[in-house]
Amino acid sequence: MAELDTSGGGKHKGGKVRTKKQSTRVDLTAMVDLAFLLITFFILTTTLAKPKAMELIMPDKDQDKQQLAVPASRTMTLLLGSNNKLLWFVGEPGKAAPQIEGYGKNDLRQTLIDQNKLITQASGGKPMIVIVSPSDKSTYNNVVTVMDELNIVDIEQRAIVDITPMDLDLLKKDNIY
């Protein structure tokens, strides 16, 4: 086994006086294991600490006027309100009852998956379009979380759009503005 021998060899003293010499061998295996664990920890944390970048692509502002007709039936709108709550509806505002949700895995992600399935089935394979309208009271973290969830659920067509007064009214009605 690994050992560090510092005993200096227990020499036999001879004679009647015999001091009890205990072995001072230190087993260094544990120390080496610890050192390698620390190395692994530092290697992993320095590579994880590098800030990651999440790409965000915005639609060209000038072409806003000649935007392609977005079929409302395939569009899901997310209005981000205050207190980490958001409101969503499919299609044009007012036609379907909006729902309020949190940003958790079981709330937003599940909703996105369900609606995506419904819409792709209903429209014969065409993907869902998501429009995100953050309000003034929503935080940057909310926007990043929504973008991240869209990436996880693999929804390619999305856009960040300025919020309209009509949307603000919807948020106010449900007290999340």
Partner: protein
């Protein structure tokens, strides 16, 4: 059958050397981890599952914290060129010392009229001075627009590569400032940018 007794030798290995190597490697990794750059404002970055890393060169960081905007570019030559372009545009002259000082500034957030005074301060005092942030009002072209534009032109001129714009924001930052920054970028037809996030698992 008589049992043949094989002389058993000691299998103890002296691990001292191994231990030394292990600690040397550890020291190397601790020291080679890049020192954390001090941001002008504390920004707790949001988490996302994105695993793409920021490029090492040719990028600029727009830091948003407390409603203020800070700007920084990577690369001393790009910084120098950007400052010179801005100086020509705003008709302010910088001494060579100030230009040299600017090449060492990671990110700053002062109005260009106060930039000269800011650069005149010694480096240790710069972090103590309250910075008001770069003006980013959406009326027409603002200072941030000019900074980003000069940086992009400088980067293409010096490195022949397009500048990657990264936005670093605090989690609790309210959306209006972020929207103004994005609107400023969109005016320059910069439609692709990266948001700096920390890693989180998708579970």
């Amino acid at each position: 059958m008589p049992r043949v007794k094989v002389a058993r030798k000691s299998t103890a290995i002296d691990m001292t050397a191994m231990c030394d190597v292990a600690f040397l490697l550890l020291t190397f990794f601790i020291l080679s981890a890049k020192q954390k750059t001090q941001d002008p404002v504390k920004a707790a970055i949001p988490a996302s599952t994105s695993v793409q890393v920021l490029p090492e060169h040719d990028f600029s960081t727009i830091l948003i914290g407390n409603g203020k905007v800070f700007f920084g570019v990577e690369g001393t030559d790009v910084r120098k060129q950007t400052l010179q372009t801005m100086a020509a545009k705003y008709k302010i002259s910088f001494t060579p010392d100030e230009i040299n000082a600017f090449t060492g500034v990671e990110s700053f957030g002062v109005d260009i009229s106060q930039l000269k005074a800011y650069l005149d301060l010694p480096a240790s005092q710069r972090s103590k001075v309250p910075q008001g942030g770069i003006p980013v009002d959406t009326t027409d072209t603002n200072q941030l627009y000019d900074w980003v534009h000069s940086a992009r032109v400088a980067n293409v001129f010096l490195h022949n590569k397009p500048l990657v714009i990264a936005i670093k924001g605090d989690k609790e930052e309210e959306y209006p400032t972020v929207q103004k920054v994005i609107a400023t970028l969109q005016k320059q037809k910069v439609d692709r940018f990266n948001l700096i996030t920390s890693l989180k698992s998708a579970k």
